[in-house]
């Protein structure tokens, strides 16, 4: 998140961040005031115990805080899936409709590895490697042969996703599989957030599952790592240059094909790791592939296509809207997500942080 906002504000004139902020406040005092009020109100919502009247009107604070935390951690999961999707799309103009299948495949492989080796961490490595290999194979064997034919590539990924989905049903069946949380991550963590007050006046603090917090922290770390890799390393510079103009990059003598295969492998591997996260958070089963493909589609459309900070922002928005939708208007929870997408499309077709 911090990266997303930072990117936006420094993009203007290259001035230091604090300076840009104060200039923005001077320019738009009313908007700044409004923003400050909203931020303070949100902080109050989260930190303070709610008065009786407010709880009666709005619902229990426990529900709200749980939806908030679930939304943010779900956003972390969506980010893991969508980051690879948006990177692949940005660099290769390939809408990888098999991305959801890679997610599911990673989840199953991670499950098998976990059962076999009894190590949760090892299962991540196995899932990453398996999916990365599949991704690299897809890029090298198929997409390299039809470069520049965006639509045909997309249709191929669609065909692959149909076949993958059916083959995975064949191997693993239609039942949902739950990946066990390792012992050292089970159980709740106390947080300093007050959920309610006991009649005696003592505060009840929020207890939140440790594994979700750890995974969210890992997603943030991966996001920051990706941002640093994109902005501070040579290969990152190559990828960013490729996103802007891949023809020019290849004219300059860089090995674009190798770069494509690497990025495809990395994006697919991320999706595979996300499969384990999804299997730990919820479960992995038939149909989850299209669910997560759609989630990443919407995240990427909302956040901006080809933008990593955009994927982070979009994932957060979609995760929050899904969880708040579940709590406050059950009948239309999924639809709310799509309403956000339509509004963004109507007002800003390139996505919130996308570029034309």
């Amino acid at each position: 998140m911090a990266t997303a906002l930072g990117d936006e504000s420094t993009a203007g004139g290259g001035t230091p961040r604090g300076d840009a902020l104060s200039r923005w406040i001077n320019h738009r005092p009313l908007a700044a005031l409004l923003l400050a009020i909203i931020v303070i109100f949100c902080l109050w919502l989260i930190l303070a115990p709610w008065p009786q009247a407010f709880e009666e009107w709005f619902g229990r604070k426990r529900l709200f805080i749980n939806a908030l935390f679930n939304g943010i951690t779900l956003g972390g999961l969506y980010f893991l899936v969508a980051a690879g999707f948006t990177l692949i799309f940005g660099l290769m103009r390939n809408v990888n409709l098999a991305h959801g299948s890679l997610y599911l495949f990673g989840g199953y492989m991670g499950y098998e590895a976990g059962v076999w080796s009894n190590s949760w961490l090892l299962s991540y490595i196995v899932a990453f490697i398996c999916c990365a290999l599949v991704g690299a194979a897809m890029q090298i064997l198929i997409f390299r042969r039809m470069e520049g034919q965006d639509l045909r590539q997309t249709l191929v990924t669609l065909g692959l996703s149909i076949v993958f989905a059916d083959l995975m049903v064949w191997v693993w069946g239609g039942n949902a599989i739950q990946i066990d949380t390792p012992d050292y991550l089970t159980g709740p963590v106390p947080t300093p957030i007050i959920v309610a007050l006991k009649p005696s006046g003592d505060a009840i603090f929020l207890q939140y599952p440790r594994v979700r917090l750890v995974i969210f922290a890992a997603a943030v770390l991966i996001g920051i790592g990706m941002w640093l890799a994109l902005h501070r390393t040579r290969i990152g510079v190559m990828i960013r240059a490729g996103v802007d103009d891949r023809d020019m990059l290849s004219v300059l003598g860089y090995r674009v094909q190798l770069l494509f295969a690497l990025v495809f492998a990395f994006g697919a591997g991320l999706a595979g790791m996300a499969g384990i996260v999804g299997g730990t958070f919820q479960s992995i089963s038939l149909g989850e592939d299209s669910h997560f493909l759609l989630a990443s589609l919407v995240v990427v459309i909302v956040g901006g296509m080809g933008s990593i900070p955009g994927a982070a922002l979009g994932a957060l928005i979609i995760g929050l809207s899904e969880q708040f939708g579940l709590v406050y208007f059950q009948n239309y929870a999924t639809v709310a997500t799509f309403v956000i997408m339509v509004v963004v499309l109507a007002l800003r077709p390139q996505g919130l942080l996308g570029r034309r």
Partner: protein, 352 residues
Amino acid sequence: MALSETGTARPIGVGGDALSRWFSDHAPTLLLGLLLVLLPAATTDFVLDQIVGWTLVLGMIALSLMFLAGYGGMVSLVQMTVAGLAGYSITVLGASSLPSISLFWPWWVAAPLAILIAVAFGTLAGALSARTEGIYTIMITLALASAFFYLTLQNWSIFNGFNGFTSIPAPIFLGVNWKSALPLYYLILFCAGLSYTAVLYVSRAPFGIALQGTRDNPRRMEAIGFNVTAHRIAAYAFAAVIAAIGGILLVWLNNQISPGTAGIQATIDLLVIAVVGGLGHPIGAFIGAFIYVLLRTFALDALVAVGLDGRRFQTIIGLGFLIIVLFSPDGVIGLWRRWLARAATSRRGTSR
């Protein structure tokens, strides 16, 4: 106007003068039409409804996708949703087994209104996706289609959630009971023939030519003075009319509608139908639908007969789709045209 002259000469492999081209194009179509009209005399109701009826209805919906993709360059995955919305509308406005939801309006109010609702939705979806370019269309329309799927799944007050509606009768008018197999078949055949002709006509009318211009080079069309976005949205509206009629016929044929009718699987199947048939010519949509319906009806038995697992039907569909996309991007139509061209060159070779 020079554009329209070059535009009417559609790129077909076979050369020759205009008349013979007209015949090579239309003689098979006319023959096929005659065959379809006479078909009921020769077959059972099962073939009529389950094979040919389904082929024509799915072909109509695929035709609307083919029109957008083939002539407009917009692969819209929202067409099945348009059909589904029309189907749901006629169920809610017309008759079904659920008196708590259905309004039981007469068919001549319900059907036009259903088409109107579906076309409004299709046009709106078009307006949303026409503003972005090329490859984004597929993403946006897929997302819209699944939004509708989840809405029908979660909403019980209008769409009756997971269960959907059953016992949706086709209406009775002009003294004919359109529920029975034969009249319904002719109704479907009439609508399918009409939309096929309409698409052929529009593709050669100035609007269709301009649309093909926006597909090939939107920038140049903009520079000449065409409003590219308006052309695209109008194309979406036209395609939505065909899809909506197809959706209503689908409900009457199938006698039920549920979220799966316009679900994600159905959306993707429709794209498979259109691509396998070929996006180069309207007949491709019906060819694709025919192959799909045949596979769906007989693949299970055929797979079991050769000793394979009958449940791997989707793998067959997916692999067939992959093979077509990889080796013949213009579908079965493309295979046919290449075969014609090869036959023509070899004939010329021997006569010389």
